[in-house]
Symmetry: C2
């Protein structure tokens, strides 16, 4: 009889229901809520988070976790219990007062950031942000003491269980070795290409209609999700009701379109998580990097590949009419253009790792106490110059204030983007090995081989396996950044 385990299931199901309301109210905050609703919403969400923290960290949960270890459980239930224990362990070390202070400070900072970013107001932002950093350092210190990890590793573990700064340093050191010269070669090669730009304006309504069409092609289930607009695109909601967002620029439809494809990758992972464990931690996505591997697999591996671009072309023509820019090789080249720029989320996949490494180096130093929040702009400027040759002085809006992540203390998140890109390359290569006709099928608009493989190898497992096991089962090896490098070389230099 698995009595303790059953009671844990009830508790975690209850937490998932509160988390559902958090997700929807959070989505609303980014997409619908008028500015004046912020204070009351922040209070309401903070109250809910305190409650969830109390329920999760109740000593009784700790006892049940111990008791359940002694019960006769199936392999799946053991994995489920492991994920419950992980969740509990992460929460129980934090005092409720800190959780509450972080929720408040984070929402406050994030909300003000929207306006401050528009106004390039670093000093205004710094005031709120300093408090966020202070609380995150406190969190890191507590987690480090409890886990024996370094302070930054302790935060990183929230998003990427098992990942460490040491392992990241090794990976990023490699990237820093090959990336600059590769980037130069690609820029050099593309310099001789002539490109015909597409001609705007592309109305928001038409862009949206195109996005919805392409989401359908990519298997997004509109009975369990929707597409909206927010300042910073994201994938939110719950598996039964996945909310993705984008933002439109009437002069450039590709940004929103590829953003939608990116979020659709996240959404399909969510929509295909294992229903039989719904409400339990094991039913959730494996990690932030694995989540990002799905969005980047959709955006970078699939959608920017030549076979899919040829499928995408008639969709674009259907909505925007025929333009020379959409013809033949030109349409491919527009989507393969490599051009270092200020904005991470607009970056091509070749310069993207530089944005991530820069943020990783800054946030690690910030959390470890080697630098202060006020030092960020100067370090940012220097690294942007070093890595991408761009001068960002005085331009906070497109510099260190461009991202939402730090505003609510999500330190340790950024590295998962590049880990995700690497996993995506490794996974896509594995699908190709498994299905030699993959590219041909894609070129005919048949994406079923890809989606079936992803469902069977990634989506349906939720958090049943740890990341290394999941990836080894799917690809025959654990994370191997070589696949990413090979992908870049093949796409841009072959």
């Amino acid at each position: 009889m698995s009595n303790a385990y059953q009671r844990l299931c009830e508790t975690f199901t209850r937490l998932a229901r509160f988390s559902h309301l958090d997700a929807i109210a959070g989505w609303d905050m980014q997409t619908c809520m008028p500015s004046g609703g912020s204070a009351a919403r922040t209070e309401a969400l903070t109250e809910l988070r305190i409650l969830s923290h109390q329920i999760l960290t109740d000593p009784h949960v700790g006892e049940l976790l111990q008791q359940a270890q002694q019960e006769p459980l199936s392999d799946e239930q053991h994995a489920s219990l492991r994920e419950m224990a992980r969740r509990y362990g992460h929460a129980v070390v934090l005092p409720e007062s800190l959780v509450s202070a972080q929720a408040l400070a984070g929402m406050h900072c994030e909300h003000a950031w929207r306006e401050q970013r528009r106004n390039n107001d670093w000093q205004g932002f710094l005031k709120n942000f300093t408090e966020v950093v202070r609380l995150s350092r406190e969190e890191a210190q507590i987690r480090a003491q409890a886990s024996g990890l370094s302070r930054y590793d302790a935060l990183l573990d929230r998003y990427e269980p098992g990942m460490t700064a040491a392992r990241l340093d090794a990976i990023f050191a490699q990237v820093k070795q090959w990336l600059p010269s590769l980037l130069q070669q690609i820029i050099e090669k593309q310099r001789s290409q002539t490109l015909t730009e597409s001609q705007g304006p592309f109305s928001v309504e038409q862009q949206r209609a195109l996005g919805v069409d392409v989401m359908g092609l990519l298997g997004f289930d509109f009975n369990h999700g929707r597409l909206d607009v927010s300042a910073h695109p994201f994938c939110g909601g719950v598996p039964d009701d996945v909310r993705i967002t984008t933002r439109y620029n009437e002069q450039d439809f590709l940004g929103a379109l590829l953003g939608i494809i990116h979020e659709t990758g996240h959404a399909r992972y969510e929509q295909n998580l294992p229903r039989q464990w719904a409400g339990l931690p094991i039913a959730e996505a494996r990690s932030t990097a694995i989540h990002e591997s799905q969005s980047l697999l959709f955006e970078m591996q699939l959608a920017r590949g030549t076979p899919f671009l040829n499928v995408l072309r008639p969709y674009v023509q259907k909505h925007f009419g025929d333009q020379n820019a959409f013809h033949g090789e030109n349409f491919i080249r527009i989507n393969h253009r490599v051009q270092p720029g200020f904005i991470r989320i607009d970056a091509d996949e070749v310069s993207y790792p530089a944005h991530v490494i820069l943020r990783y180096e800054i946030e690690r130093a910030l959390i470890e106490g080697e630098i202060e929040a006020g030092d960020i702009p100067e370090i940012w400027n220097k690294k942007m110059m070093d890595y991408l040759g761009l001068d960002t002085r005085g331009n906070y809006r497109d510099g260190c204030m461009q991202d939402i992540h730090w505003t609510d203390g999500a330190f340790g998140y950024f590295p998962t983007y590049t880990l995700g890109a690497m996993y995506a390359a490794q996974l896509f290569a594995a699908v190709r090995r498994c299905h030699p006709s993959l590219d041909e099928n894609i070129a005919h608009g048949d994406l079923s081989l890809l989606f079936t493989w992803l469902r069977e190898n990634i989506w349906q497992h939720g958090s049943r396996f740890d990341t290394d096991t999941l990836i080894r089962n799917a690809t025959g090896e654990t994370l191997n950044p070589e696949w990413f490098r090979r992908h870049i070389e093949q796409r841009y230099l072959s």
Copy 2:
């Protein structure tokens, strides 16, 4: 020292925060949520309602309410305590299992109703609805035993404290005496009028833009609210973030426009509730009928009055161009047209009470056990024929399935619409007495006298006074239906 009272304030503030999340997730359910999200949302909201019920009915709250009675409190705090006790008393009598079953059955029935109404599927609806009725009868029985009221009165008291079926019967008996002949006279009088109809289509975008303009004219604060679309228009959200909805018909812009004006009346009440008590029951609207009096004061007393219609005219012309239908007396007549129809929310103010009396009579008999859910269509048909001369046989969609209220067991709500219409007439007459220049000011587009009066006499008081006191303070007498009759006669027969 008011220690118990302070602790009650903390508890009720916490409840208000959970209620905030309920309101937003509920709004989302009506306006955004895809159909497939329903099951998970229902579970999440039910979990939250169980939690709120538990917090509110904790025996400790009962003890604190008793202790606080002994504390030295200000008059305002005494009123606040009275409202807390009322809330507690209403909740504590219900077993948690019933609350949970009602929440689930109600959301289930309501969600299915959307589709069933479209399909005119009474049998499908009846299956869910029978369960809703069964649970509401159980609730009525429990409340009746606890309060000494009749079963229907016990449900009515949730919306309209102090109101009884006996008092309603007296009021409605009067209305049934004068309404039929008045209605006939008006129809007779209008028969000789020739009307030029406006020519659609009126695009949803333009209708929305007009609605937003008029909301601005009516003082809606867009920093604390927004306008959206839902199948059944409502005013939801929280005072800091009021969410009103409408639905558009491209052939008739007036329905949506007057609906928006109606919801704006609700919204301004919410947006102007007393902030100094925010989070406490005393800061909430006095009752459902008083809430409705504000929406009907905006829609019927103000907006359909000739002075305001002349202000509205150029707004309509700005968005839809010049049409003969908008000219002179014709525009007034379109808005004063009396024409009995199937749909309550589309009804003119003269035939509206018939819709309400019909529903009141049916729901009271249903709750008192005199009829069963399956009997409703036949009784509905008979009463529609008796009261308005309309044959609704077989047309469930536009008959007994047209309203959302019964789907989640809101029995006792319908009478508040006509009470609201009566309070609205009484209040508007009082503003006129207070400000003899009122109509002249309105004709010049200056609504400040009206809004200031409403803020000072109704909005800012929240639930500080009971309904009779509030209305007596504002108008010099308690509810007097004569003002409504006089309003109808003056507008339609003078």
